[in-house]
């Protein structure tokens, strides 16, 4: 069979969404940022909302998200994406607005904006890439860095007495009345990508129905920052990140569904 026969349109099984530009991704090979971009753009394409969507790029490795997403975008100061999104959504309530943020951006310098934006229940979508590290600046400790995990500013591992505890900000925002949908997903396997895509779709549908804020954490790898090969990084993530940051929905349609959170609140689950 000739290559020309193979690339016939009827043989097509997968096609890059036209909402991703043809610019070469600036991410390290194997990094979860690129896959997450793709998932978001596919959802926007499928919902036919490109002309009504405004994305907010953070400061972090995904600062150049606007080079890859073929939508109108605003680049925000470090941590301030939820405030920027609020300014846009409040003045354009009929538009779709989402922010895309790393863990340093969302859970360290921008914690206040994150909490208050969620608590006000702004009708937006927040996509939160948790790779447990500051990728862009060269692998420093993040608020999400695991206990004992090494980074360039915790070279002997995160020591709680010295450096404090890792922050589960997603569990925190799930308890705020302004959030409608809160979930933690991953993009390291095709099955995980499918689940994340379903979650992103639900988040944008929530925004369409004005149900409140949807918050999607994507536990992701940073093979460069973790100093591992992409394959080893994904394995390490499964073995170390997922036990501390368990995947799954925490809140759906404004109701907490995570057993962990319910038991924290004193609600008995069988």
């Amino acid at each position: 069979m000739d290559i020309k026969d193979i690339i016939k349109p009827e043989n097509l099984v997968y096609k890059r969404t036209p909402l991703l530009t043809s610019n070469t991704l600036s991410y390290c090979p194997g990094c979860g940022h690129g896959t997450t971009h793709r998932v978001i753009m596919e959802v926007i394409e499928e919902m036919g909302i490109q002309a009504d969507t405004i994305g907010i790029a953070p400061v972090g490795c995904s600062v150049l998200a606007y080079d890859f997403m073929d939508i109108d975008m605003v680049q925000a100061a470090h941590g301030r994406a939820p405030a920027v999104a609020t300014g846009i959504k409040r003045t354009w309530p009929e538009k779709f607005v989402f922010s895309y943020q790393g863990d340093g951006d969302l859970a360290a310098i921008g914690t206040s904006e994150t909490i208050h934006c969620c608590n006000r229940g702004e009708s937006i979508v927040i996509i939160f890439i948790n790779n447990g590290i500051y990728g862009m600046t060269g692998g420093q400790m993040a608020p999400t860095t695991l206990v004992g995990m090494k980074s360039s500013t915790s070279p002997y591992g995160r020591d709680v007495a010295f450096m404090g505890n890792p922050l589960k900000i997603t569990e925190l925002v799930a308890q705020l009345p302004g959030t409608c949908f809160v979930t933690r997903q991953a993009v390291h396997t095709p099955a995980a990508v499918r689940k994340t895509k379903k979650a992103v779709r639900m988040a944008f549908e929530n925004q369409k129905a004005n149900k409140g804020l949807s918050f999607i954490e994507v536990v992701s790898n940073c093979n460069s920052g973790w100093k591992m090969t992409p394959v080893a990084a994904n394995k390490w993530m499964e073995e170390n990140m997922f036990p501390f940051y368990p995947l799954g929905d925490m809140k759906v349609d404004g109701r907490i569904v995570s057993k962990e959170l319910l038991s924290l609140a004193g609600v008995k689950t069988e």
């Binding site: 002309a51 606007y66 939508i71 846009i88 003045t91 904006e113």
Partner: protein, 355 residues
């Protein structure tokens, strides 16, 4: 004649914002400017014109909400006082870099630090030399009356959109808190009339995507962008505004803006009662600074007193303008203390006439 009302300066700012067709206000309380947000809420600005009014969780959030709304081409503003304006500087620098129009109001109080809630003019450097990081300038207007608090809101929005640049109203606790008669301008529609080719409101099939950013990883491109900004700041010099008071026959000059200009008017009259012909040049725009009219006037006078409620900030621009051809001294009480006309006159006699 328009509608007349007795109002505080801060209330005039808020009423003018509604009437100027402002689309959104984001702010955080701080004395002595909290009346702006309070007035917008009690007036139900959101019902009168549909304007968005939101109390943010901090000045950081407020300025970044402004940044977001301004990215979409809306007429948007915030107000604060000195410590809050310091917090906003990163956001203002981003807006200058991304060339976003907006209005920022600073009702200045005494500093440094938490300082005092009393009036001051010690934020001149911060306002006119950039304020945050990088090479940038704001359009800076200095009202000296409650009337100008109202009028300059409209003017500042017009200039901000004309140049795609943040505009700042540099007021102080005196003008913000005092009550005066104001002639209010007519309600304007919340309609956008400017070029909207750059706004981020969703990419439609007929155009490329729009991006609002201040980032340029390539230093050569960033230098080009800086050149473009500098050219714009040069063009902004056409907007210079000032007022001359008893200048025609003046043999001495005072230079003062805002509430200090009001005090100097009285000091000028006191000096003239003594037979000393003093004039007052009041810069209305602090950036661009009225350097040329000042240079012109300097040729006819024997000395200049720069008066400001600070340890001496504007005096640097006064000296630069007159090229050291004439004696220039500074006078001002500061840290929240307001000088009296008599104190100004006394300093003028000692530093300029006697010295």
């Amino acid at each position: 004649m328009g509608e007349l009302q007795l109002m505080k300066g801060n209330e005039a700012i808020a009423e003018a914002a509604i009437r100027a067709g402002c689309d959104a206000y984001f702010g955080y309380p701080i004395t002595p400017q909290s009346e702006v947000l309070e007035y917008l809420m009690s007036e139900k600005a959101y019902e009168r014109t549909g304007m968005v009014v939101l109390q943010a969780e901090s000045e950081l959030a407020a300025i970044n909400m402004v940044y977001g709304a301004a990215s979409t081409g809306k007429r948007v503003m915030t107000s604060s006082s000195s410590p809050g304006i310091s917090l906003k500087q990163e956001g203002i620098s981003y807006m200058a870099g991304a060339e976003l129009p907006c209005l920022i109001v600073n009702v200045v109080r005494g500093g440094p630090g938490l300082g005092t809630i009393q009036p001051s003019q010690a934020d001149y450097f911060q306002s006119t030399k950039g304020g945050g990081h990088g090479d940038y300038r704001l359009l800076v207007l200095a009202p000296a009356s409650v009337q100008e608090m109202s009028d300059f809101v409209k003017l500042a929005f017009d200039l901000a959109f004309k140049y795609r640049n943040p505009a700042l109203i540099l007021s102080d606790g005196v003008i913000g808190q005092m009550m005066e008669k104001v002639e209010l301008f007519e309600q304007q529609p919340r309609a956008t009339t400017f070029d909207q080719s750059w706004v981020t409101t969703g990419k439609t099939p007929n155009r490329e995507r729009n991006i609002i950013t201040s980032l340029n990883l390539d230093p050569v491109l960033q230098e080009q962008h800086n050149h473009h900004l500098q050219e714009k700041y040069e063009r902004m010099k056409a907007e210079v505004r000032f007022e001359r008071y008893h200048c025609d026959d003046a043999e001495y000059l005072m230079v003062a803006y805002g509430s200090s200009a009001r005090i100097c008017q009285k000091a000028v009259l006191l000096a003239r009662e003594k037979g000393i012909r003093v004039g007052l040049l009041r810069p209305i725009t602090l950036y661009p600074f009225p350097s040329e009219p000042l240079l012109e006037l300097s040729k006819q006078v024997k000395g200049i007193l720069s008066v400001e409620m600070s340890a001496g900030q504007m005096i640097e621009d006064v000296r630069l303008a007159v090229h050291d051809t004439v004696k220039v001294e500074h006078y001002g009480r500061y840290g929240g203390v307001i000088h009296s006309p008599e104190e100004v006159l006394d300093a003028f006699m000692k530093k300029i006439v006697g010295g």
